[in-house]
């Protein structure tokens, strides 16, 4: 019976806490709440995003805040685990009484928040979610990632478009990717694109995330002798794949496409010369065609604080977008002069937004009206130099034409010298 007494007391305590929940006050600062991956698998991106968000909040507050009220960030570590997300968002909304919520980083951590957001009819901006809204069809969800209206295919469209323009046109393609959420989605899109361009798929395999050595895979690809190779890999695999390809001497006419991680300065520095000639997706690079207002200032601030925060030293990949998704939200609040979720959502849906990463307009499904997935080629790379990646001319934009900043060195082998 004594044991049971302990149990009853514990549950009783829990109930009491529930009854005496702190009641937040409505006035005071505007609270923006979110969960972010500060530990776990995607913490590298999550922490970088957090720094960008903090910079945004500081800048806004310096200018007097939103609607004359200061902005306060309320955030919790979702540990890169989907299971923590529902708890975090209900805590933010019910206990902390935040006024606005935005998403954490990545599909896995956006999706579990959506049912809560939808139930309460809130406006929600997602950071780097791949086709999350396909399942929910929620009108007030917006995705900050320039993948375009049909993200899966738009992701690799540029890569295949570039291939299609070459003469003679490549005829065969090898598809390889990580057997995980991103890899599979990107491969599915690449399959469609390959079909659209009349390419014959000679290799199409996924590898498990725990793969140690990629030599056997690269050998298998080499044996099929493809004209182009599309890779949809996560950061460690991108490095492994590239190293194995380099060692084995795999030299198709075009190599890369969907390799995550080649956008990170740390990995770029580590791989150095091996990157030469690789054509890969990117969202923003320091090329003259992409000098949007404010981005240089932002990156300067970010880079000064990157070391202390333990995040990517250059911050070209996630941080500008993390800044932008709050920029969009902030602009909507200012424009509607309210915190009314309906009005904010309506505004975001119907207007164009001028941000750090260029002008953004959303399609009815919440994705960008037009894809801006860049295809960049690594050119003139040296070993062991971080600095070069902060300068133009090393990640040259090949596609889309609107942002083009250089010409493709083709085939891949020629770039490799």
């Amino acid at each position: 019976m004594r044991a049971w007494g302990v149990v009853a007391a514990l549950i009783g305590a829990l109930a009491l806490v529930a009854v005496w929940a702190p009641r937040a006050v409505a006035e005071g600062p505007i609270k923006v709440g979110f969960g972010m991956a500060l530990t776990g698998g995607v913490a590298g991106n999550g922490k970088a995003a957090l720094l960008a968000i903090q910079i945004w909040a500081e800048e806004v507050n310096k200018k007097g805040g939103l609607l004359g009220r200061k902005v306060e960030l309320v955030y919790y570590d979702d540990q890169s685990k989907a299971a923590t997300v529902p708890g975090i968002y209900t805590k933010l909304l019910d206990v902390d009484k935040v006024d606005l919520v935005v998403s954490g980083y990545g599909t896995n951590l956006i999706a579990p928040a959506l049912p809560i957001v939808i139930e309460r009819k809130l406006t929600f901006i997602g950071l780097f979610g791949l086709a999350v809204n396909e399942q929910f069809h929620y009108p007030h969800y917006f995705g900050i990632m320039p993948a375009g209206p049909s993200p899966k295919t738009d992701w690799s469209a540029g890569f295949f478009e570039i291939a299609g323009r070459q003469n003679p046109k490549p005829r065969t393609v090898a598809l390889v990717g990580a057997d995980a959420e991103y890899g599979q989605n990107a491969l599915a899109g690449a399959r469609e694109n390959a079909k659209r361009h009349g390419l014959q798929v000679v290799y199409d395999k996924a590898y498990p995330p725990a793969t140690v050595d990629f030599t056997p895979i690269v050998r298998a690809i080499q044996a099929t002798n493809p004209d182009i190779v599309f890779v949809a890999s996560y950061p460690p695999d991108s490095a492994g794949m590239l190293r194995a390809a380099h060692e084995v001497g795999l030299k198709p006419k075009l190599f890369g496409g969907g390799m995550v991680g080649l956008q990170y300065a740390s990995l770029q520095t580590a791989l150095g010369l091996m990157l030469e000639g690789v054509v890969n997706y990117d969202f923003w690079v320091p090329e003259p065609t992409l000098k949007f207002p404010g981005i240089e200032d932002f990156l300067k601030k970010y880079q000064e604080r990157a070391k202390a925060a333990g995040v990517d030293p250059l911050g070209h990949y996630v941080p500008p977008w993390a800044y932008a998704y709050l920029q969009v939200l902030g602009q909507a609040v200012e424009a509607t002069k309210s915190l009314d979720q309906q009005k904010i959502g309506e505004y975001i849906r119907t207007h164009e937004h001028d941000t750090l990463v260029g002008k953004i307009r959303f399609a009815p499904n919440g994705e960008w009206v037009k894809s801006r997935v860049l295809m960049v080629q690594f050119q003139n790379i040296e070993n062991n130099s971080l600095k070069q990646f902060g300068e133009p001319g090393h990640r040259v934009v090949i596609y889309p034409d609107e942002w083009k900043s250089g010409t493709l060195i083709y085939p891949y082998a020629k770039a490799k010298r």
Binding site: M1, R2, A3, D77, A83, N108, A111, Q135, N185, A206
Partner: protein
């Protein structure tokens, strides 16, 4: 007599919980409590095979995920009522448990544990390569907009998990005080001696493994509705295995109160840590506490309490 008193308390708790959903609209506590109750079920289930019988299962995550995926696939395939989900997840988990039980035929101690680890990986590989279950891309499960009696699905899940937790505890308590429980304890202490003293060890181990597996599967059944999006890597997360083993070890693995205490304490600490301090630090604390407990308090909190009281048996 004592059993009836506990039953009364359990019923009172459920009534209280339902009443609470009427009073407070604060969803956070339901979500938080849901997670803790889920760990009560998992820890209790683990303990039936691990604590009572002495077979350490490192594959709890596999059982949990299998239950969750069973539910998600059923929801995707047919419009099934909720109790069917629980039943199906329990059945699948129980069958997996049964096969695990047969493993004990050949494997003892560490070898068994390593096999459970491998079993979880094989299961994950199967799900990853199963297109209908979403493969590695994951599977979405939409919550129904309405549910009978409750104004909100989360409140419903909260009450369901509370009932499951109480059910698991009742099962564990019943086993502990039955002939079955004494037989399992004999197996844990010395399997060879138990067999020679007339205990049908294989049958008892099969029962324990099946019950344990079924409960873990059931714990996973409401999970698709809770997260709405599952993919193998996070559903098969090692955390479930660690927690469902750490909680009984910290609470005390020989009685049903141990996993409950461990789950409530560790689960609450983790919930609080998630929304306060850095969670990496929080995980470190779990690791240190776990190591400290196995070294300093081998019988968990229950053991400490008993030792303080002078070795009297509760």
């Amino acid at each position: 007599m004592r059993g009836r008193a506990l039953l009364a308390v359990a019923v009172a708790l459920v009534v209280l919980a339902v009443a609470l959903t009427r009073l407070s609209a604060n969803q956070y506590y339901y979500f938080a409590a849901y997670v803790i109750f889920q760990y009560v079920v998992l820890a209790t289930a683990w303990n039936i095979l691990g604590g009572y019988t002495g077979y350490v299962n490192f594959g709890s995550a596999g059982f949990f995920a299998l239950g969750a995926y069973t539910a998600a696939i059923l929801i995707k395939a047919f419009p099934v009522p909720f109790p069917v989900l629980l039943l199906a997840a329990g059945t699948v988990g129980g069958l997996l448990g049964l096969s695990l039980g047969y493993l004990t035929l050949r494997l003892r101690g560490v070898f068994f544990s390593i096999a459970t680890l491998a079993l979880a990986v094989v299961l994950q590989t199967l799900i990853v390569n199963w297109e209908y279950a979403g493969g590695s891309r994951g599977i979405y499960t939409m919550r129904p907009a309405t549910v009978l009696f409750f104004d909100n699905y989360v409140e419903f899940l909260f009450v369901v998990m509370l009932i499951l937790a109480l059910g698991a505890l009742a099962t564990a308590r019943w086993i502990e005080h039955s002939r079955l429980g004494r037989g399992l304890a004999a197996i844990r202490d010395n399997e060879e001696a138990a067999e020679c003293m007339g205990v049908p060890t294989l049958r008892l181990k099969l029962v324990a493994a099946t019950v344990s597996g079924a409960l873990m599967g059931i714990a996973g059944a409401p999970f698709p509705y809770y997260v709405t999006y599952m993919e193998p890597a996070s559903t098969f997360n090692l955390d479930y295995a660690v927690n469902s083993l750490a909680m009984p070890m910290i609470g005390g693995a020989t009685t049903w109160v141990g996993p409950l205490l461990g789950a409530v304490l560790l689960g609450t600490a983790q919930q609080i840590a998630t929304v306060t301090i850095s969670s990496a630090l929080n995980l470190l604390i779990v690791g240190v506490v776990l190591v400290a407990f196995v070294i300093l308090a081998p019988d968990g909190i229950i053991g400490l309490v008993r030792r303080r009281r002078g070795g009297r048996h509760a």
